[in-house]
């Protein structure tokens, strides 16, 4: 599975974002959150979207999920225009969104039940993914009995159980402590490789963006746009120690500078 996700393999594009922009109007004031943006996501890509807060990166992700509607342009998943949310695009949110009245197993089965699968089949799939995120012994626990990291692992299992074409992650580890976050990054990378998923991952953590992605998109300050698309040529699977290699440091230095400019602009310092 140590395939470099490079150009050696012919890759199919599964998601096209074309000229998508978003303006919000609240109480008469119009804010442009995102200028016309293009992005093509290939099968099995792990794209991290990096940007300062308020740059519209979450808005972009929410539009792919169908939770927000683009003001212009269109988003196509496998050639079909996105008009609303659906099970083909799984999402993991930054906030803990497990249903508190359902236990871990029932949470993971939520989408499967919505699909109308028989209960035994639901449980079979759910147990498989619970095992993958290391929570097989917590099936009967309620979300409030779990730590933040465990809740996000359950949320990941819940999204994966639906077998989505693309996994959308909106700063999923943002609320976790540093150590838990690193564990989660490795876990997600393993799952991405074994399940051959396509992932769109929003973060403001530069280390995380480089460590996880095969492509890093840097977004500018508001109004957001993709200002650079940087391939990360580090081989997978990436061990934690990759963060101390010179290549990693170089990439980090470059991205830090890119982001710094944007943060300064956003805060009106330049």
């Amino acid at each position: 599975m140590a395939l470099p996700m490079g150009k050696t393999k012919l890759k199919m594009s599964i998601l096209q974002i074309s000229q998508v922009s978003k303006t919000f109007s609240t109480q008469g004031a119009v804010t442009q959150a995102l200028t016309a943006t293009d992005l093509t996501v290939n099968e099995n890509d792990f794209i991290t979207i990096l940007g300062p807060s308020g740059c519209g990166k979450s808005t972009l992700l929410r539009m792919v999920a169908g939770l927000d509607t683009p003001s212009s342009g269109e988003i196509k998943l496998e050639g079909v225009r996105v008009t609303g949310p659906g099970a083909d695009r799984g999402m993991v949110f930054q906030s803990y969104t497990l249903f508190p009245w359902l236990n871990v197993l029932e949470n993971v089965c939520f989408g499967l039940r919505e699909k109308g699968l028989p209960l035994t089949e639901q449980h079979e799939i759910a147990h498989k993914f619970l095992k993958q995120v290391g929570l097989q012994d917590f099936a009967k626990h309620f979300p409030k009995q779990l730590s933040g990291g465990m809740q996000q692992r359950t949320a990941l299992a819940r999204a994966l159980a639906n077998d989505p074409r693309i996994l959308l992650m909106d700063e999923p580890f943002g609320a976790l402590d540093h150590q838990t976050r690193e564990l989660m990054q490795e876990l997600l990378q393993d799952i991405w490789q074994s399940e051959r998923k396509t992932v769109l991952f929003v973060t403001h953590d530069i280390d995380e963006a480089i460590f996880m992605g095969n492509r890093v998109m840097v977004m500018s300050a508001r109004p957001g746009r993709i200002k650079c698309d940087l391939p990360i040529e580090l081989p997978y699977p990436r061990h934690y120690s990759v963060k101390t290699t010179p290549t990693f440091s170089e990439l980090k230095a470059r991205l830090t500078e890119e982001i710094r400019i944007e943060v300064r602009r956003a805060s009106g310092l330049e």
Partner: protein
Amino acid sequence: MRPLQPVSPSAKVALGISFFVLFFAVWAFATLGGYVSKTFLADPITMVRSGYDLLVNQGFAYDIGMTVWRVLGGFFIAAILAIPIGILMGAYKPIEALLEPFVSFARYLPASAFIPLLILWAGIGEAQKLAVIFIGSFFQLILMIAVSVGNTRRDLVEAAYTLGAKDSGVVTRVLLPSASPELAETLRMVLGWAWTYVIVAELIGASNGIGHMITDSQALMATDQIIFGIIVIGLIGLITDIVFKTFNRWLFPWARLS
């Protein structure tokens, strides 16, 4: 004592009971000590004696039964209708926009002020008593249920949509379970209010019930009986409250985990 410091369960029970004891002690001291005239306030012992007499010789148990049935009957009809309307209002904003202003207006109409009208419309039978309780609780219930359904966390709704839920699935599998502990709590509270309406309904034009006994006793200046009636209402209220709370905790174990 420090702010927000919890007490042990046994101390909680002991403290709760000790205030009842204190209350009765002060009352007994004031009346038996002769500081308050018997005409205005009966002493606890007389109250218990006449309470026993009411129950054993005057068929007061039947009155209690009638009152309980009126409260539960009127409240049940109100709840059966208010729950679906409240849920629809909380879930669908156009329905809320249509009904909310009227319901907000109607809930301020005092149920007791309807009694003369209701006597005109429904006579002085059971239908009139039930109608007072219905008016008193129906609009309150609708509004409070709509608010708890409407307060469902938006991110949970969004998560359900990204998991493939349709609109009906969001209502039945997210909005409803999310609001249900609060909904049960609303039922408990409004049932408490229904108790005050039933007594008012029974003060006027009733031939039985706790409220009727109280009006009868007023004519006889029997403060002991009046107080006994009031205490019975309080006790029934306390018991239903405890039953409801226990039931809700058993029904929604996830809501109290923390």
